[in-house]
Symmetry: C2
Subunit: 659 residues, 2 copies
Amino acid sequence: MAVEQKLLANAIRALSMDAVQAANSGHPGMPMGMADAATVLWTEYLKHDPADPRWPDRDRFILSAGHGSMLIYSLLHLSGYERPTIDDIRNFRQLGSPCAGHPENFMLDGVETTTGPLGQGFGMAVGMAIAERHLNAVFGDDLVDHRTWVIAGDGDLMEGVNHEAAGLAGHLKLGRLICFWDDNRITIDGSTDLSTSEDIEARYAAYGWHTVRCDGHDMDDVRRAIDAALADPRPSLIACRTIIGWGAPNKMGTAATHGAALGEDEVKAARAHLVWEHEPFELPDDIRDAWLEAGRRRQGDHRAWRERLDASPHKDEFLRRMEGRLPEGAAKGDYFDWLAANPQKVATRKASEMALEAINAAIPETIGGSADLTGSNNTKTKGQKPLTAADYSGRYIYYGIREFGMGAAMNGMVLHGGVIPYGGTFLVFSDYCRPAIRLSALQNARVIYVMTHDSIGLGEDGPTHQPVEHVMSLRMMPGLDVYRPCDAVETAECWALALQRSDGPSLLALTRQNLPQLRLERTENLSARGGYRLRAAQAGRKVVLIATGSEVEVAIKVADALEGQGIGADVVSMPCWSLFDVQDAAYRADILPEGPLLVSIEAGTTLGWERYVGRHGLSIGLDRFGASAPAEDLFKRFGFTAEAIVPRILESLARSRSG
Amino acid sequence: MAVEQKLLANAIRALSMDAVQAANSGHPGMPMGMADAATVLWTEYLKHDPADPRWPDRDRFILSAGHGSMLIYSLLHLSGYERPTIDDIRNFRQLGSPCAGHPENFMLDGVETTTGPLGQGFGMAVGMAIAERHLNAVFGDDLVDHRTWVIAGDGDLMEGVNHEAAGLAGHLKLGRLICFWDDNRITIDGSTDLSTSEDIEARYAAYGWHTVRCDGHDMDDVRRAIDAALADPRPSLIACRTIIGWGAPNKMGTAATHGAALGEDEVKAARAHLVWEHEPFELPDDIRDAWLEAGRRRQGDHRAWRERLDASPHKDEFLRRMEGRLPEGAAKGDYFDWLAANPQKVATRKASEMALEAINAAIPETIGGSADLTGSNNTKTKGQKPLTAADYSGRYIYYGIREFGMGAAMNGMVLHGGVIPYGGTFLVFSDYCRPAIRLSALQNARVIYVMTHDSIGLGEDGPTHQPVEHVMSLRMMPGLDVYRPCDAVETAECWALALQRSDGPSLLALTRQNLPQLRLERTENLSARGGYRLRAAQAGRKVVLIATGSEVEVAIKVADALEGQGIGADVVSMPCWSLFDVQDAAYRADILPEGPLLVSIEAGTTLGWERYVGRHGLSIGLDRFGASAPAEDLFKRFGFTAEAIVPRILESLARSRSG
């Protein structure tokens, strides 16, 4: 290379400090500190083609320390990606710029993951490395043979999720995963000495990782470390000793460079220190050319790969999977025919397993798993082999007791492409992986969460295991479809909808306890409208009962009792609020009309149900923690029986007549 | 001891397998596996007095692997605690029994923490050990000098929170914390080999822990390991090799013993194997007496401690703190007087810091902290020294980037007693510690969460950092008071309420951006009613605007604009829904009357606001993720300005007139 590499790194430093200064907001310290190592990686090792950011066999690069977003924006711009342009960078952190405060995969090609919530980029990288090895096992080296690179900061490695993810990666021997730890010994509060004393390399070695240390400002030493990582069959942690804000002469090495603009004076001083005599956002031609040349480095490899793909008998299947299209005939519906002919009284978790038997047979890209509750979540189907270090072609992952790590890994798998992951735990432990669920939604990732034991109906395990607020609090997460099906048919419908949705996550809340099959006719997918009239009033309609999941059965008993007294009651099953809320006004008004008393029945918090029943409707719910006892005793104790509900409805009707 | 110790352990095994069998539900494997080690600990080492389970200087014992609840119920019963009785144990997992599926501190003295959600018992133990050292530093060895013992399983040590908690414990050199790892190599899914390959002892050594290994069925070896742990100044991990379900001859060592009753046949076989010839729930006198004698072992120490307490000049202060009573005069209100005289235009996070200056000066038992966002959360006041390994008397903890570990530690501190912890992070990262917040609520623990950057108002950091669904989804957690104050006065009021509440957690959602002081008169604590009329309509009231936090300022501008058009509008500030919802009906109807158009304004999800505005009110909110841009641009972009809101209100008024 004609230009000294240190100058290439200084281009990153200049763009980073100038963009943060222009925005007067952002994090210059991390990109300035890691500029040298990132330059070595991107100009010499990373397999990518800026002309085609979506080349399926590219290496994946994840900036887990997402606050250092100017590092990746600089790298993409300098390497010759169409975006970000220099104007995008000038508009760093402004409305509409793809150069958002933290990297957002939905704003910019080349940003593989949305990062910022610490630890999760690392966790997603583990998922990407799993997807790569799995697809390699399925399609061979010719089509799938790439690496996953991560830059992680101290924060990433303090967050609990890194423990879960690193343990999983070590167990699965993901040797094509290499993580740089930006060992700058600074966090927001100051020196890392304030809060931690651990030996991170020893910890990673304990997980079965290879570790190596280097001086992050000595490019030869960085190269040596990368070469050692490449040579080792284990996943690698490169402890990269850096000085945060390197180049800012008065602030480098201090927390002052972490999360704020350097200030005009210090930017000026850094220009002098780096001997960088160019205006903000100006790049000299030799440096620009050298970067672009490095960006074109692997175009030949890309062409050769295209040729292999064109010659491959797997081409169509490979592209189908990578583009996220379901196989033809995946939605045949034989299973629905069978259910109509053979009604099943099963728990919806069991119904989910039955649906999965059909799904996993028809859709080869599904990869199931559970956070150590396989037999309880019913997530493993008969033919599913485990995905292990010895056999990456397996389609079932024993995630261990790592809910958050599982969620992050599933996000990474989807973002890698080529697989559709689903994973299970108890619904109450959605709290443990909630940050990952949020990133599924924000990143438009087709992850399917299989959350069983969805209410006090789980019984004896008690309040620590009984969801109360979970279903509702998940319904309010933007972009997440929450399903709570009432029987085997709805469960299969919800699974079909979750799979068909290619642009976002779904979560199924499923029972531990058996439920009768309420849908006995073969119909179109009624759950697709989110809510529908399961049964119309026979007597004059005075009540509309709206229920979900296991409480639909209760609603039917309530309706029976009311009808027995000459009071007509519709029963509405509402498995998915987000789908119901986007139906047209006429449909919604037909299902939830003005006039009748609107009554919700759900064994969870009532807050939220006012959306459907209004301020003067009646919500039968649970606004306290549950208790440890057999499920039937709990339903009785907390009033989820027709005997308890009917009098409350009669009272409400009487009050509204007199009111 | 007259009776062979192995027989004492078998009493635990018998009670455990019989109780689980009677309930036909529960986890016999863990208590049967750890019975020997637990017997050594409880009969020889543990400092406690069954006659006074709340003796402040007792050792704390935490069964982090809470599914093995029959272990602690057996230990408490055998040691002579008043409860559980043998009938309580017979009713294991039945409605009303204090022997719940998982141990619940609010059901049974001697159960120090509610466990079951894995990893958190361990995390709470770290908090207890911190509280112990802090109070020791304050009150001296005479009054505070005890240990914290934990039993953790593989699941506890796979969960991410154990990484955060162990890192913190190592850093703080909590040498009086000793954790038994029940190394039985079995999880629910089967062998631990399915999901993990890590060297746990090496990992703990990397955190700065002492580690030692023993045979969990060899009581001498257990003793040797405990003695080594006691002798070492570091926190200790005792890797205790056990066989799950030890004693059940056909099932021991397998996952079949983990989470289900052994079955009548296997229980019978275990009786034979253990040579345990007693009926279920029957204990022979010699074994019962030996256990009771062991339970009385430390009564002399307890008496001596009482004598030291009675002689201590610190007695009143020590008891005040341990009983959770605030100091006299803590609620003087000088700060409120000052605010009325000197209105402050500050962010509520800054207002929180100002309130804390007064609080920390008046209440010596507060211990603050932040998960590495001290300067952003404004959680550290001027006089606060850090709590460090070198000085445990400090009152500020640099928790590091460990939100979940922080939450769990704070729960442990409260449950230990004697301190009132508060800790900060960004509101969006409440997701990272949500499982701990839930345990604060379930355990009735006075933890105060200081959550700043509470909406898109944080600006440029973008959607990964902008809470949308968080405030509402926290409101629906039973037992948690969520506060979103609108100015400096409300912030101080909410702090006062959070501190006064001794039986549960509070969470303050605070702004990054400055807000004008809207409350200019010295009044009683208006936030105590949850919501109140901040300003009454001047023209004829046609609209009631309900807002929280930063949007109250917006509501006032909207009201001004409406009044300018002759439309009267009340402005209601609603800082705490849970407090408002328990006001009497007349008060609530006065604040939120029928008739006027009800309009909510909050920069978060609208789902939930129907509770106050009904099906036909108007909710101004944000039902999508935010974006990266300066705060003002975002408020404009997403319609949180009077200019955007007034036309929507006029339209709604027109519609309701015509409808």
